[in-house]
Amino acid sequence: MKTINVRYFALFREQAGVGEETLTLDAATAFDVFEATRERHCSPEPHGHCKVAINDEMADWASPVEDGDTVLLFPPVAGG
């Protein structure tokens, strides 16, 4: 089991009801973290439309997560 800090933004933050939480879970990749939070918060977005960052670096869904990492979950962006 790993301790992962998860940060939610925009729609995800509203759905989670919190901006940040610490989860203890069995996750190998960023995708695993996303799926775990989906179950907890019923997020309707497919991950293909979303982006993820690990410790303030843009990452892929297949990127490995380590104990103590901060995973940032970004719903579909719409700047400009």
């Binding site: 933004f9 940032l72 700047g79 400009g80």
Partner: protein, 148 residues
Amino acid sequence: MIEIVETPVDTALLADSLRDSRAGGYAAFEGWVRNENDGHAVERLEYEAYAPLCVKEGERIVEEARAKYPFIAARVVHRTGLLELGDCAVWVGVVSKHRDEAFRACRYIIDELKVRLPIWKKEHYVDGDSGWVNCERCAAHGQRDHGT
């Protein structure tokens, strides 16, 4: 090079900051809050950004543009928070020796930052609804929020 700000964007001041005696062309783009999107009358917009990654990714985009279309200088400013109709949400300014590089780099930067920067836009509609732009079920979500 790229800034996320919570205050109104002073585009005249920003353009002045790019002045350079070698520059023959200045191309700029401004995104303004308009009164309609996809048939919905919009009252105001709310932007949320994750600034640390906006700056990192924004600088990467500007450097990509510089490699493709060598320019003298470029700057980007994106505003966050609650914006009213007509407000400037984003400004991109590029100066170059000749106009082609300025135009192309400016277009590249705005196109890329719209799809790559961690920025989100919530539309507040005249009818009281609201929704996060580009989110698949925003409409449904907005309706849940407002009980309509």
